[in-house]
């Protein structure tokens, strides 16, 4: 009851604020659909089939999850700057609920985005030439499945929590939100570029694709692609990605909490 109630406090507050900010909510929901509906088929044509609709869709899903997690510390920084955090710190609540609670709010946001992309991609597949038994090259063939849906929700929540914890560590060393966004971009953007989100690892220059083995985003994308397309890079087992992400979510929630509380309390 205690820990759950405390977690509920942070989560409920975040959800009320998100719900009240209808424009932000709408933007969060419309943007992924717009990207998938416009960019997906267009990129397929522009790259002459090199980047398939499915490859891009799963990449965009990964990007959305990553960005949702990336912006989680923004709320914590806001609370720190407005001194609202003191209200939380002076209460007997467990400190890890702060990072985890905000991460869960981010997870709700990214889950909604992922669902919209997934359902949107299924609709586009039907409209533009879905063929379940014999997928034709160049035509979208993402199909809807309840187990895949639950798998996507699970991986989205875990990755958002992991990225939220990781970015909270960066927020701990940032004096304001501008510094945080700069540092988060410096660290986050290269992770995206050397991942297999949009580019195939074997085509990255200077053998950067080899770094994929230590890039957690690759495991996220691989898991999404495995769930949706049944594809996995050679040598990678289906459980490796989810297991790694669970471990990272736990470790970074703890580290994020520790560094942030330490940075605030003297």
């Amino acid at each position: 009851m205690g820990y759950l109630s405390e977690l509920m406090a942070i989560f409920t507050r975040g959800m009320i604020i998100l719900w009240r900010n209808r424009l932000l909510l709408l933007g969060n929901l419309v943007m992924p659909f717009a990207i998938i509906a416009i960019m997906g088929p267009a990129a397929n044509l522009q790259t002459f089939g090199y980047l398939s609709f499915e490859y891009l869709t799963t990449g965009i899903m990964g990007m959305m999850v990553f960005f949702s997690g990336m912006f989680i510390p923004n709320n914590i920084i806001w609370d720190r700057d407005t001194k609202y955090l003191n209200i939380i710190f002076v209460s007997p609540c467990n400190r890890s609920t702060i990072v985890l609670g905000y991460s869960l709010v981010g997870a709700v946001r990214s889950t909604l985005q992922i669902l919209i992309i997934y359902i949107g991609a299924c609709v586009i597949s039907i409209v533009l030439g879905y063929n379940n038994t014999n997928p034709q090259k160049g035509l979208p063939y993402i199909s809807f499945s309840i187990p895949v849906l639950f798998g996507l929700i699970g991986i989205t929540i875990l990755v958002t929590i992991f990225v939220g914890g990781f970015m909270t560590i960066i927020a701990s060393y940032s004096k304001n939100s501008e510094t945080f966004f700069l540092l988060a971009s410096i660290i986050g953007m290269p992770l995206i570029f050397i991942s297999n989100m949009f580019f195939k690892p074997e085509n990255l220059p200077f053998n950067l694709g080899a770094l994929g083995i230590i890039n957690p985003l690759n495991y996220l994308i691989n898991t999404i692609r495995y769930l949706m397309l049944g594809e996995l890079p050679p040598g990678e087992m289906p459980w490796e990605g989810p297991l790694l992400i669970i471990v990272l979510a736990v470790i970074f929630t703890f580290l994020g909490t520790y560094t942030f509380v330490r940075s605030v309390k003297k």
Binding site: S5, E6, R13, P92, K265
Partner: protein
């Protein structure tokens, strides 16, 4: 055993002593005032007592629990209203209280009736479902007091609770604080740099300056310690009259003020009036009024610290601070 016991408390920030060897006890049901200028160490002391800061040395116990070793137990037993308005104005009053209740793991059946009772007490019941962003500064403060009391604390910390409020709102807040203390028996530690606030509300007052304890006593005893009254003569300052008044045996000090002449006496003010009036009559001095005043806490502060309390008037956003100045008046 007091609800708060502080012994030789020290807090240093990079070599700077914000709190310097302070000791005091607060009894159950007491309103204890902490008076001092900005930067005197009032908020730092409160932050240590709330377990938000760790002391460099010394000990502090709140409701019998050590603020370092038993910080969770301390937090369960306290409520606080911070110096800055720290309330989420994107939520309604009830939503703010709900979040707070969750933070203290309070059951729904426990917090809702209590929230309603407290909102009634501070006259916010009718606006409980309104966004806090529509509230005035005084209403936000009242809501913060409700929030501070929601978890039924044994001690309530009020850090400059009326800072930035208009006189009417300040009076309201004082009234609520007195009622809370009388009806609920809650011990309250209040910090302020408003002399009248501490004078009216506190059972005992500690004056601190530069992190050090200057004096601790009841407001009346502190004023009585000065053992004199002040007579204020409204009119133009007359140097010859001032010189003659200084010759009276019971007169401690005479000085020109912006409104006339101030005469400090070491006997009851009323008894000194006939002799003073004689001198005024001899000088044919055209004064507008003569008032007798008891020494205020301001006088006490000046007496013990050698300077007046630097007052501060915040603007609406509490961001710009204006120092009115510090008069050095060594005695």
């Amino acid at each position: 055993m007091g609800v708060i016991e502080v012994e030789n408390l020290v807090k240093e920030f990079n070599g700077f002593r914000a709190v310097d060897n302070i000791s005091f006890n607060i009894e159950e049901g007491e309103i204890f005032g902490m008076l001092g200028p900005n930067g005197a160490g009032k908020t730092t002391t409160i932050f240590i007592l709330c377990s938000l800061l760790k002391p460099t040395s010394g000990t502090a116990r709140v409701v019998g629990f050590d603020v370092v070793k038993d910080e969770m137990k301390v937090r369960q037993n306290i409520g606080i209203v911070f110096q800055d308005v720290v309330i989420d104005d994107r939520l309604t009053a009830m939503e703010n209280l709900r979040i707070h209740a969750h933070l203290y793991s309070m059951a729904r059946e426990e917090w809702i009736p209590r929230a309603k009772e407290l909102l009634e007490l501070v006259e916010l019941s009718e606006r409980k479902d309104e966004l806090v962003s529509h509230y005035s500064g005084g209403m936000k403060r009242r809501l913060e007091i409700v929030r501070g009391l929601l978890n039924q604390p044994k001690v309530l910390f009020l850090d400059e609770p009326t800072l930035g409020l208009d006189p009417q709102s300040r009076r309201f807040i004082w009234d609520y604080i007195q009622r809370l203390n009388a009806e609920k028996g809650i011990s309250i530690l209040i910090t302020s740099h408003y002399m009248d606030e501490v004078d009216i509300l506190s059972n005992r007052v500690i004056i601190i300056d530069h992190g050090k304890e200057v004096v601790l006593d009841t407001p009346n005893d502190l004023k009585n310690r000065l053992g004199k009254d002040v007579l204020r003569l409204k009119g133009d300052p007359n140097p010859e009259l001032i010189d003659d008044l200084k010759t009276l045996s019971f007169v401690n000090d005479v000085k020109a003020s912006s409104e006339g002449i101030e005469i400090g006496v070491n006997i009851p003010g009323g008894d000194s009036v006939p002799e003073i009036m004689k001198i005024i009559y001899n000088h044919n001095y055209p004064f507008q009024s003569l008032t007798i005043a008891r020494p205020s806490l301001e006088d006490v502060f000046i007496y013990y610290t050698g300077k007046s309390l630097r007052e501060e008037t915040p603007d609406i956003a509490h961001t710009m601070k204006r120092k009115i100045g510090s008069r050095a008046r060594r005695r």
